[in-house]
Symmetry: C2
Amino acid sequence: MENLEANFEPRFAARTKRIQASTIREILKLTSQPGYISFAGGLPAADLFPIERIGEATQRILREQGVQALQYSTTEGHLPLREWIASRVPGATPENVQIVSGSQQGLDLIGKVLIDPGSRVLVEAPTYLGALSAFNPYEPEYVSVPMDDEGLELEALEAALQARPVKFMYVLPTFQNPSGRLMGLERRRAIVELARKYRTPILEDDAYAELYFDGKPLPTLYALDHALGGGNVIYLSTTSKTLAPGLRVAWVVGPRPLIQKITFAKQGADLHTPTLNQMLVYELVRDGAWYGEQIDKIRQTYQTRCHWMLQALQKYMPEDMGWIVPKGGMFFWLTAPAGLDSLELLKKAVEEKTAFVPGQPFFADGSGKNTLRLSYSSASHEQIEDGLQRLGRAIHRMLGRAPVA
Amino acid sequence: MENLEANFEPRFAARTKRIQASTIREILKLTSQPGYISFAGGLPAADLFPIERIGEATQRILREQGVQALQYSTTEGHLPLREWIASRVPGATPENVQIVSGSQQGLDLIGKVLIDPGSRVLVEAPTYLGALSAFNPYEPEYVSVPMDDEGLELEALEAALQARPVKFMYVLPTFQNPSGRLMGLERRRAIVELARKYRTPILEDDAYAELYFDGKPLPTLYALDHALGGGNVIYLSTTSKTLAPGLRVAWVVGPRPLIQKITFAKQGADLHTPTLNQMLVYELVRDGAWYGEQIDKIRQTYQTRCHWMLQALQKYMPEDMGWIVPKGGMFFWLTAPAGLDSLELLKKAVEEKTAFVPGQPFFADGSGKNTLRLSYSSASHEQIEDGLQRLGRAIHRMLGRAPVA
């Protein structure tokens, strides 16, 4: 009686070398233990989930359209939801919209359809770690472009586009995960123009778009490209940050030749996003007044929590720790004094029963060793106070200095 | 103002050549028009969806575990559901179980993790079309092995395994889609032994396992392999045929080294299957008595509908039309006189306002031109009578014979 399971290892496809556990995943496991105050997970505030509303909407859907909600449906997605999405994107029709099972699936399908082994994909430094996980199995080469406070540095971007052809550039202009940065209007315009000049499509990931604290939202790269003739931006957004991530409903908006291929790819990947979930999302967002209030509530809550974290950072961090003050979104991005390794710091922080995400995995080029991401979206005032005090102790211990009492 | 969307076509990855619209898809569109009686879609009977029960379970989950149901969760899937699945598979623990968003996603992730361009994947002739759509983007070569009434022909199978290494073989032993065939016990044993002898893993797709009409279910290939030491079968099943396909909850059970890679691949592909849907499925299946009754109801309904279709086939088909009488599942598989092209027949059938799926797309080697699949799972007695009469007219017209009145 021989167990043959060891037989699998040598059978893995070459791409499987690049399919690995992520740091975030291991950390999420760790910090689910009691007693920890974790700022690691990018979890939306569960206390704001519209649970009751979701219950009512589900009952209505099952009563009125139960068979449709539970049967197989088309790969493109629920038409009323696609219409609602198209109505919010300049120049889009439902035929430009593909519903996906979370933005993550959008990233996977776009990678599948566009990336050959060795294709150059341009990313921000840092960039969203989940996008790297989605693209990696398709074996791209990454071109990492540095950022300043306004987003991608233009000179470095143009140099990269000029050097060798790039398949597409992946950009998170609004409250970027992980850095929280907001790309300014002039920078947006310049990047859209550069992309058009070098005939390089932009993949715009706008998961955090609704989460601005003050002021008005800036136009999307998709809208700016549309004003110049369009066809060069793929737009990705989601309900994970405004309704509930557990529903897994997001969308890709893009030029039709691409959307068609994404639809065929999705058909092979999972047939369609659960019908009930799509109908549920539509039931919630179609009531614009309610949806507006829901988003306002999230904005105000995150702004308050962000403010608490800013105060705690000022109180407990050493003077040579730097950070970007977010204008929206869910994250603080910290830059420690050069030489401090944030993975080592995490080990110390865990001893103090707190946690964050080390920054290095967000850099496709392996830089950013002294950076870290803290999420405030799910934390109470007390947790932020206590947790940052713990983190402060860990940092001061590492630097061999006396912590702030 | 230039629209750049034409820019995408030359940017598609090489694999995208193999990401195409499927015949099934186009046919499903067609037959959604009123007036048609379609036997094309493999749609479970919507009149048996447990809508009320799903409503109650959703309310209970939202009331008692609302936050968990709507928050991000682990990639592996909802633990109680994985425990329930493991308890039904010999030798399995929850660590052998990965929840996926429909069997289709299981096929995609297994392809992603195992198939290199040019890898040989052995399939039945015919095989499930959706598996070909899932595997195609990973650019395998298919090795098609013919079947007799009992399943894969053993001599041909051994010759294929001997000739050149095969990455894995994909088998649907129970009420295969499309042919409805049930692989007998001796054939099952022989195939499991051959696979072990040639160190070739089996991917067992068991989507229709519960849908037997009479008698007792046969042991799965997974169970037979387990009895010989295990580690050589990957098992795939789903709730799409017993509860509701729109929920998109299925599972892969397999050796841990493979399941771990599938988990990492799924993390990059869609993070996790919607939590609410997984919890909902668990709420339904955990009540074994109710779940047993639900499946019995489906079995009896399909057996009745199958019987109606058999009677109508005997009445309206020409004498030289052959078919397999199903012992379970959802499909009749017809073999027309050689020379009759079932795609041409479909065009005639559509003129008569009925539809089926031509068999050829189910053959990886392009054979099977004179075969066709009819689904009885969703049809009423009247629809079966009228539809088969229409199909009979179309066939007799094509053959230049007088139809049965």
